[in-house]
């Protein structure tokens, strides 16, 4: 996915300016930056929730030229937990995950066998099959987050955008999420995440740093130049340390 000269607007306000970013196909790109930098706005610009100018192309096709359904099948988006699953939701877990199949269904069409199969797989993958008949409003924050992840997987899109996917997940489920990430990447999916947990972001293939609505730096997460930029982005208040094959981040 290539993003060129992208401006993103929240109402009349320009929240992102002249962004040109390369998001490598089949890899994991993590977007990081201080609070209010515009990370979530970037994902919302890509999904057409916020209005944009500039161009976003996938395999040289401008996504503005795709119809709604084609776009919904190509790009799936996971909202921040506080944006989704309102308390006045009467949906069951199963029905919530089935909503991910809407881009594949026609009007008045009942879910097909394939739809049910995909929903079951998504439930199994996120360990939510045992709560499939419960209502969304009865779940804990972590359970709800896993259900919303299952809904995202059910879209079967090639590009997955996740805004704070680890929010409310306990360490074992964070570890599970990393395993799903690897599986998704092995299937050739492109994953873009917004993460506050820098040590998880450092596990991505590619880092995009945003500051005050502008691109600050982009590069491979293992490069020392990227690490230098990351430390500078957070004004020297973090320290990066190598532990085995992984980089960890400590606040100082």
């Amino acid at each position: 996915m290539k993003i060129s000269d992208l401006n993103v607007y929240r109402g009349p306000c320009e929240v992102l300016r002249n962004l040109t970013i390369d998001i490598p196909k089949g890899q994991w790109t993590s977007i990081i930056g201080p609070n209010g930098a515009g990370k979530s706005s970037l994902l919302q610009g890509i999904t057409n929730i916020l209005s944009t100018t500039g161009s976003i192309t996938i395999d040289d096709v401008n996504i503005q030229n795709l119809d709604r359904k084609a776009r919904a099948k190509a790009i799936a988006w996971l909202a921040q937990n506080n944006d989704a699953a309102e308390e006045f939701s009467e949906l069951t877990v199963y029905d919530t995950v089935m909503l991910g199949r809407i881009p594949h269904q026609g009007w008045l069409h009942l879910p097909s066998t394939l739809d049910h199969q995909v929903v079951q797989e998504s439930l199994n993958k996120t360990h939510t099959q045992s709560i499939a008949s419960r209502f969304l409003h009865e779940l804990s924050g972590g359970e709800k987050q896993r259900v919303l992840l299952a809904r995202l997987l059910a879209v079967q899109a090639d590009i997955l955008l996740m805004d704070e996917p680890l929010a409310n997940l306990d360490p074992p489920h964070q570890a599970d999420w990393l395993i799903w990430q690897k599986e998704l990447l092995a299937q050739g999916k492109t994953v873009v995440t917004v993460l506050h947990e820098i040590q998880f972001a450092l596990k991505a293939d590619h880092l995009v740093m945003i500051q005050q609505g502008k691109l600050y730096f982009q590069g491979a997460s293992k490069d020392s130049a990227t690490h230098q930029a990351l430390i500078a982005l957070f004004e020297g208040r973090i320290h990066l340390e190598k532990l085995g094959n992984e980089w960890i981040c400590l606040p100082i």
């Binding site: 919302q44 709604r68 790009i75 944006d83 069951t92 909503l99 209502f135 409003h137």
Partner: protein, 326 residues
């Protein structure tokens, strides 16, 4: 919810509906004895049966509109009158009454009180939509509905201030009245109910998707703004037809969806159908009580629906079945 369970609940509610319609034919200001006399037949077929069926249909329209409003605005306190249709309908009736007392106008005669209420209710919703600049934000539309309600109410107050003789007629409209429902009115409400239910079932995926938040709904490939406008149109039509025939009946649209929420099993389409049936049962049951509590004196049905619906909502609130879930 398994299909057979839904069928059982649906059958039980429909059986209750038929029983209430039958009771509506039996009870009234005078008794009916077997064998029927000519007068009994007239009372039964020209007054009680159309009234019972009409009360049921109006309640069903309000129940459906309430379920749409609560799902669309994701607010358990939303009701069909939220977008200015109540004050619009009242103003419509006020204007027609005012014009008809000034002199005979063919247009005023053609429109009539019912037509005035219907047009006023639709105009109220249209004005709220115009003020909000279309359906871009639920909050903006709800606020516009409140503003339109206040403005139209002020216009109503001005009307009754200038013409105090209209007050009693307007008050009768405000408290709801099912005694004047005709077979023609039933035909119109029946058709409106079938069309509104079919359209709502067709559009129900939008209501389910909106439960996940407006932004997520936008990423699933649905033409959200257009579909929400269509749902508003269905809501306005259902409310307009009910208001035109029965006046402003409180609480049916608000309470009916809550009455069936725990048995609908979280299925949006089931919830919509059951809310409609519950609305019919609530209004017809209230109408029966309104006719019989102080018989032969009849009290306005709106008072009974407010007491019944309000009490049940209070009961649910105390049991924690509605309100904030955390």
């Amino acid at each position: 919810m398994p299909k057979h369970q839904f069928s059982q609940k649906l059958m039980a509610l429909l059986a209750l509906s038929l029983m209430l319609i039958a009771l509506g034919c039996v009870f009234g200001s005078t008794g009916i004895d077997w064998p029927f006399t000519e007068v009994d037949r007239t009372i039964l077929y020209e007054i009680r049966l159309p009234r019972s069926i009409g009360a049921y249909l109006a309640g069903a329209l309000l129940g459906l509109a309430g379920a749409i409003a609560q799902s669309l605005f994701r607010n358990p306190l939303a009701d069909p009158y939220l977008l200015g249709s109540a004050s619009g309908g009242l103003l419509g009736v006020g204007i027609i009454l005012c014009l008809s007392s000034v002199g005979e106008h063919s247009l005023v005669t053609l429109i009539g009180i019912n037509g005035g209420a219907f047009a006023g209710a639709l105009l109220g919703v249209l004005a709220a939509l115009l003020l909000a600049g279309g359906y871009k934000s639920s909050l903006r539309l709800l606020l516009s509905g409140v503003v339109i309600g206040v403005i139209f109410s002020a216009a109503n107050s001005l009307l009754t201030f200038v013409r105090p003789d209209l007050y009693q007629s307007l008050q009768s409209f405000m408290l709801g009245n099912t005694s004047l429902i005709t077979w023609n009115a039933n035909l119109m409400m029946g058709l409106a109910l079938v069309i509104c239910i079919l359209l709502t079932l067709l559009l129900s995926p939008v209501l389910s998707v909106l439960s996940l938040g407006e932004n997520t709904a936008r990423t699933l490939g649905l033409p959200l703004d257009q579909l929400r406008l269509l749902l508003i149109a269905v809501l306005a039509l259902a409310t307009g037809f009910a208001v035109a025939q029965t006046g402003l009946i409180a609480f049916v649209g608000l309470a009916a969806p809550h009455l069936v929420r725990h048995i609908s099993g979280g299925r949006q389409r089931v919830q919509l159908i059951l809310s409609s049936i519950a609305g019919g049962i609530l209004l017809l049951g209230s109408d029966l009580l309104a006719k019989t509590i102080f018989a032969p004196l009849e009290i306005p049905v709106g008072i009974v629906t407010a007491v019944l619906g309000g009490s049940y909502l209070l009961f649910l609130l105390r049991r924690g079945q509605i309100g904030i879930r955390k």
